[in-house]
Symmetry: C2
Subunit: 213 residues, 2 copies
């Protein structure tokens, strides 16, 4: 099962989207080391970390072939590198593209809507504008998850009968719903998915590792 | 070369990120039909179009197997469906993941920074907040393209010697630099890439089609 030597290193921060890649590495039974980046100490902007990821963000995956960033790319690499784990429909181009479309929506629209709650400074300097962005998060994130609930989450897993790399990614973003001010009671299918994900050994192990470190 | 029958349909709007998929279809010598969605008439919110793409955005690719959305997914599907065009390193998982990482950065960070110039209403209601977002676009988009210039654009093409689906996507977003208030003189490698892209027959044909329609 292990295709990478030396073991890959996942750079993560607790409560970040890096959890999706962390869970996928567990799902793949990969040999890896999880390395915490301390956001409170602004470690993501240190020269040492910027040499790993010039964007100053997590996740980053250091492999024997080089460094990967961006959740959809890391998830896809894990699925390809550990094919026995069957984390993506690698032999079906259309199904694989649909999976990529879902993960693209999560990174480019859902995560972005969420980020306006705590990272508004990326897109405006004016403090009152940053406050205005926070106010809209329940609506914008709620609309994204409404689409996921009604259009995209096939059930029981995101892509249907087969668990894929879309599942830990959706789970990760769904962790933030309450803090984003979204009424989870209106999202029964998302809530059910989240509850089933939370009981998977891979998820429990990744979260325990991030909490303990 | 043609793997899809009946011809695929690409739903696009002029001056949108759909141009990337449009160029890739030309690069692949695909048989396709380009269908314009009239944003001025708010056609993207019509019941007819929402049945195609519930997100109310472009691009959308209608294929014999179903509908795809999200630029990175459509580009990847085109690369996989027309392998003779060699638009992605399909046989090298790490190189393919790097390509996906670049395209993820374009959709989740670069395009998002740009979108705050004209689509700030997605993330705030207050008109003064929307104005504040516009003001920061030269800085935020400029920072993204600075990273691309210095870290990610290998040259002559994004991924190096081989032209890939990252190239029409970068070209599409680079079309907006001047309107985003970014000083292109500080981005000589991006500017050179853009100029070489603009002369490719596939790019000229896709733009001519979108302009004429």
């Amino acid at each position: 099962m292990l295709k990478e030597a030396p073991p890959v290193k996942l750079f993560y921060a607790p409560n970040s989207c890096a959890l999706a890649s962390h869970v996928a590495l567990e799902d793949a039974e990969a040999e890896y080391e999880a390395v915490r980046v301390d956001f409170r100490a602004n470690e993501q902007r240190s020269a040492e970390y910027l040499a790993i990821n010039p964007k100053g963000r997590v996740p980053a995956l250091v492999t024997s072939k080089g460094i990967l960033t961006e959740t959809p790319a890391i998830l896809f690499f894990v699925a390809q590198s550990y094919p026995n784990a069957r984390l993506a429909p690698l032999d079906d181009p259309f199904a694989l593209a649909q999976l990529q479309a879902f993960n693209s929506y999560l990174c480019a629209t859902v995560h972005v809507a969420h980020a306006h709650r705590m990272r508004g400074y990326r897109w405006a300097d004016d403090p009152s504008a940053i406050e205005a962005m926070k106010k809209k998060v329940p609506e914008s994130v709620g609309a994204c998850f409404g689409l996921i609930e009604h259009e995209y989450l096939r059930g029981p897993w995101v892509m249907g009968e087969r668990y894929t790399i879309a599942d830990p990614y959706l789970f990760t973003l769904a962790q933030w719903l309450e803090l984003d001010g979204v009424d989870v009671a209106k999202l029964p299918r998302v809530a059910d998915h989240r509850a089933r994900m939370a009981e998977r050994p891979s998820v429990r192990k990744a979260i325990a590792q991030e909490t303990a470190a």
